[in-house]
């Protein structure tokens, strides 16, 4: 846990007035507010930093304490205890062994989203009155990884976000990268502000068989040369089982067949499905026997 320079975060001088702090805060907040930077975790983090800096610098008492201890903030409580003991006639306790080592600047993801530094100095934060209605709680983001098959069926999933278990229904047809919002499931609001929201991004893994484009699915069906030339039948995998297709004689490689309604379910439209597009490829036989080669030669001479 490292010391945080709140003045630097708000880009103000140590002698900045309350009015300067307020102006700097608003300017920064306009740049990094989550409403203006949807789905941008970096901006969200910056916004938390700015909020915290404002929380300290706009409150004369907190600012005084912060300025007083500065980089020696880790001594603050010990120093107070020692002073009180000295006043009561007790002996010196000394500072003991304190770690001044660096460490990364880290915001806790717990309630209020204050940094460890802030909570060490001021306790777990509750913002002081700062205006009309305070800020709403932090929005949380989470990722939910699904296979293509899972995304094709409406089902329930349990997500753990900040130690809280949430049971959500995943509607069939969600798209890769799609974000859904669960209102009020984010961080707690401060100073009377509403709770934040939880944004869940669906990540759908690549499927070895099907490729998905919107609601349509693409699948490749390799045909042996003889079926391609003479026609026949081909069993194709679909999402809900197998279908038998009749292959017309003389089918060309790369020919496509569209199976209506055999594709992916359409999001939130029960009973509607995209199409399955089957692309035929033709496998040319290799490692021919002598006899087979002779027959192909014969075919060539006939054509």
């Amino acid at each position: 846990m490292a010391y945080i320079d709140y003045y630097k975060i708000l880009n103000v001088d140590k002698s900045a007035s309350q009015e300067d702090v307020k102006k700097a805060y608003k300017k920064m907040a306009r740049k990094y507010h989550p409403d203006l930077n949807p789905n941008n975790p970096e901006a969200k983090l910056r916004f938390q930093e700015i909020n915290e800096a404002n929380e300290v610098l706009s409150d004369p008492e907190k600012r005084k304490k912060y300025d007083q201890y500065g980089e020696n903030w880790k001594h603050a409580d010990e120093f107070e205890a020692q002073r009180q003991q000295a006043q009561q006639g007790g002996g010196s306790t000394g500072f003991g062994d304190f770690d001044f080592g660096g460490g990364s600047y880290h915001f806790s993801s717990g309630e209020g989203d204050y940094s460890d530094f802030f909570e060490s100095l001021f306790g777990s934060g509750r913002k002081s009155s700062r205006g009309r209605s305070g800020f709403r709680g932090t929005d949380y983001t989470a990722e939910l990884h699904l296979t293509l098959q899972e995304a094709a069926k409406t089902h329930k999933q349990v997500l753990t976000v900040n130690g809280k278990n949430l049971r959500i229904t995943v509607p069939a047809g969600v798209a890769d990268g799609q974000v859904i919002k669960l209102k009020g499931q984010g961080g707690a609001g401060t100073n009377g502000g509403p709770d934040g929201d939880l944004y869940i991004t669906f990540i759908i893994s690549e499927d070895p068989v099907f490729k998905r484009v919107g609601d349509d699915l693409y699948v490749t069906a390799p045909l042996d040369l003889y079926t391609a030339v003479l026609g026949g039948e081909k069993i194709i995998d679909t999402l809900d089982g197998k279908v038998k297709l009749t292959v017309q004689p003389g089918i060309q490689g790369n020919s496509k067949v569209r199976l209506r309604g055999k594709g992916f379910p359409v999001y939130k439209e029960d009973g509607r499905f995209g199409d399955l597009i089957v692309t035929y490829t033709v496998d040319v036989p290799v490692n021919l026997t002598k006899r087979q080669k002779e027959l192909f030669e014969e075919l060539r001479s006939l054509s």
């Binding site: 907040a29 409403d35 209605s133």
Partner: protein, 99 residues
């Protein structure tokens, strides 16, 4: 289909905002209000938007012209993001050998 409506004056009283601000949002085409017997109503489907614009206006001191511009830019970003996702999906079709 049923639409839930909230009386604008009641909403403003509860959220401590000026009714003129909600009217301004409607005037700029940022939200749509319903009017029944002279009383204005806000569809609940627009609540999120109103809350967002309220934060911009009151917390971030962005005026209505700024909010209007931000609304257009965010919509454009959203469209572009959608286009990127669609193109990325199409590009996948050309990756590898299939289909």
């Amino acid at each position: 289909m049923q639409t839930d409506l909230i009386i604008v004056s009641e909403y403003c009283r509860q959220s401590e905002i000026e009714p003129s601000f909600v009217s301004l949002l409607e005037e700029y085409g940022l939200i749509e209000l319903n009017e029944v017997d002279g009383e204005q109503y806000l569809p609940t489907s627009q609540l999120n938007e109103v809350e967002k614009y309220t934060r911009m206006y009151y917390d971030l001191s962005i005026n209505i012209e700024g909010i209007d511009a931000i609304h257009h830019l965010l919509s454009r970003i959203d469209e572009l993001q959608h286009e990127i996702t669609t193109l990325r999906n199409r590009l996948r079709l050309f990756d590898g050998d299939e289909p």
